[in-house]
Subunit: 351 residues, 2 copies
């Protein structure tokens, strides 16, 4: 006790809570880690009680992961500076639009420990000067700590229920990969490692845009051939995007959980596909925020944000024509194009 | 009329009938082809009437593609020799175990036209001397005509209903690719071409084994993370298999409809997955032939046959250890292993 690396999870949402459960099981298992896992909670009232108090008393996140017993060595902490103090390993799992601001506050707390490491579980890319920036690069530049990334076919509720799942860690050094793999690998959550921090984040972000298009197919009542075609075209556009903007991308990522498996599970059962199906079923006339409120208990969709950001990046560098699926998905989601027009954009010319 | 290439479809099952509909629409569209599409029917009685008569009278295959109006330029022909006579383009779409015998009879009819071409829509590989042999190679060697292949995310009923779908033609020469693409490309059925006859057939065959494993997941009530993991591992084993046995395989096939899209649609909505789900739900105790009778109207599963053949090939060359998913799927399907043991085989070692 006291000698192991101290872990703090930055985030307490659906995935943050499920990831904390995984991590807390492993910190108890390995002497390498300190048992206690701190979880930073952006305080809010739930049934009149502070969320952090609820978690620490009942060992359940009733708002974002209801019905799942959390290990008692998870300590919800609402004060960010207190979370930063003494932490060796930071796990980022907050919506991507909040990463920069949160990292700045962490830096400004003056509590950052020398030699700390970070890993990003955030599904998203940032846009800086209309260019895509990886969440891991942002964390590295803001905090000055090396940042790996974890991504995979990970519907949080399924992992919380301990259904067999996989994920991929994108690493820069093998030493870091070994450490992070021990923090996350469970009998029901198998972790493989790939030397590609960029690739797995690009797939992790852009698959949410494909999931919107797949959800439109569901909402239109189209069958599995069509949905598979949309997913295939989407995978090709993700691949093209990664190759163009992050040339070091390892092409093997497609065979990883962070590659096609994440795309599959996101397009079968994820939140983006459910909300997009509702959007298309209502012919694009129901506002996204209303759908988010009904389907996500107030959480925000990643897919719509990433859809806008991807569109802006591609528009800026005049490459929209190479990404017909991303483009038409944006037009359906934000420019009033009838969802039925989605399919018209998916044709292949005769050779 | 009379100058266009004459097309004959060898097969009248579910996919054969849907493919004939696609083809017959295009033979009417392009002068390149003779309008009439002959469809070889292995004669059987349906409600006391010959199947070929039913098709030619009512323009519907009531047994294998009920509810779909077939173009009137499809001519069902029960005599194989008559089908071979004058045909320029043969489309093979029969269960893979019948290809060799049928091709032999076609050859022996003495009617084979010089300069004829063939394409295989058969999802399967043959085993000769315990080595995998492509259906296209078998057709080429039996008939002495060049044989391309077509494969993709193609649930036949969805294509028959004209839901947007895609497929990939694997070709040896671009000239043949252009011809076949014109025979199959429709606004609702988009065809791309890849110079890899072998790769698309290996994917097309082995994805049915993966679909059995995916179906077991469904039957066990497992979630989308697990199913996506099984599909990912399966894709990797298909890839390894193709690379080992057909070294010329184009790695790009994974990005084609015949690659990951076919895997996805087969594992979401195909017949193998439905039957395998039933098998697992009944704890492996209900015989396959009983399930086939109930779910497939008497047609045979491709997945179970291919599963056995793949197992025999890998056992013969002592490489089962490299294919844990194919191996465990065989053991569940044919050696009484409890379906629940499937997941135990899917672990990744710590690095």
């Amino acid at each position: 006790m006291g000698l192991g690396k101290k872990v703090t999870v930055i985030g307490c949402g659906n995935w943050g809570s499920a990831a904390s459960k995984v991590i807390a099981e492993n910190t108890k298992k390995y002497d390498l880690f300190d048992d206690t896992v701190r979880m930073w909670v952006l305080e809010e009232k739930v049934d009149g009680v502070n969320l952090s108090e609820l978690i620490n008393t009942h060992h359940e996140n009733k708002k974002y992961l209801p019905g799942i017993k959390l290990p008692e060595n998870i300590l919800a902490v609402p004060d960010l500076a207190e979370c930063v103090k003494d932490t060796d390993l930071f796990v980022f799992v907050i919506p991507h639009q909040f990463v920069k601001g949160t990292a700045e506050k962490m830096k400004n707390s003056g509590q950052l420990k020398s030699g700390a490491l970070a890993i990003s579980l955030v599904k998203g890319i940032m846009i800086v000067d209309k260019k895509p920036v990886l969440v891991s690069d942002l964390v590295e530049s803001e905090l000055g700590v090396p940042c790996s990334a974890l991504s995979g076919a990970n519907v949080a509720n399924c992992i919380a229920r301990e259904e067999f799942s996989e994920a991929t860690i994108g690493y820069t050094t093998k030493e870091h990969a070994r450490l992070w793999q021990r923090l996350f690998d469970r009998p029901y959550f198998k972790i493989s490692c790939l030397d590609d921090v960029a690739g797995i984040q690009v797939y992790g972000a852009l698959k949410n845009v494909v999931a919107l298009a797949a959800g439109f197919c569901d909402g239109l009542g189209l069958g599995s051939n069509t949905k598979a075609a949309v997913m295939r075209i989407g995978l090709n556009e993700i691949h093209t995007f990664a190759r163009n903007f992050f040339p070091g991308t390892n092409e093997k990522v497609v065979f990883e959980s962070a590659g096609l498996a994440d795309l599959i599970t996101t397009c079968i059962g994820g939140r983006n596909v459910r909300c997009a199906a509702e959007f298309a079923a209502k012919e694009g006339k129901r506002p996204w925020n209303e759908i988010e409120l009904e389907f996500l208990n107030g959480q925000k969709l990643q897919g719509t944000t990433t859809c806008v950001e991807t569109y802006e990046v591609l528009k800026e560098c005049r490459r929209l024509a190479e990404f017909p699926l991303f483009h038409v998905t944006y037009k359906v989601a934000f420019e009033g194009l009838n969802p039925k027009e989605l399919i018209a954009s998916l044709s292949v010319k005769l050779i």
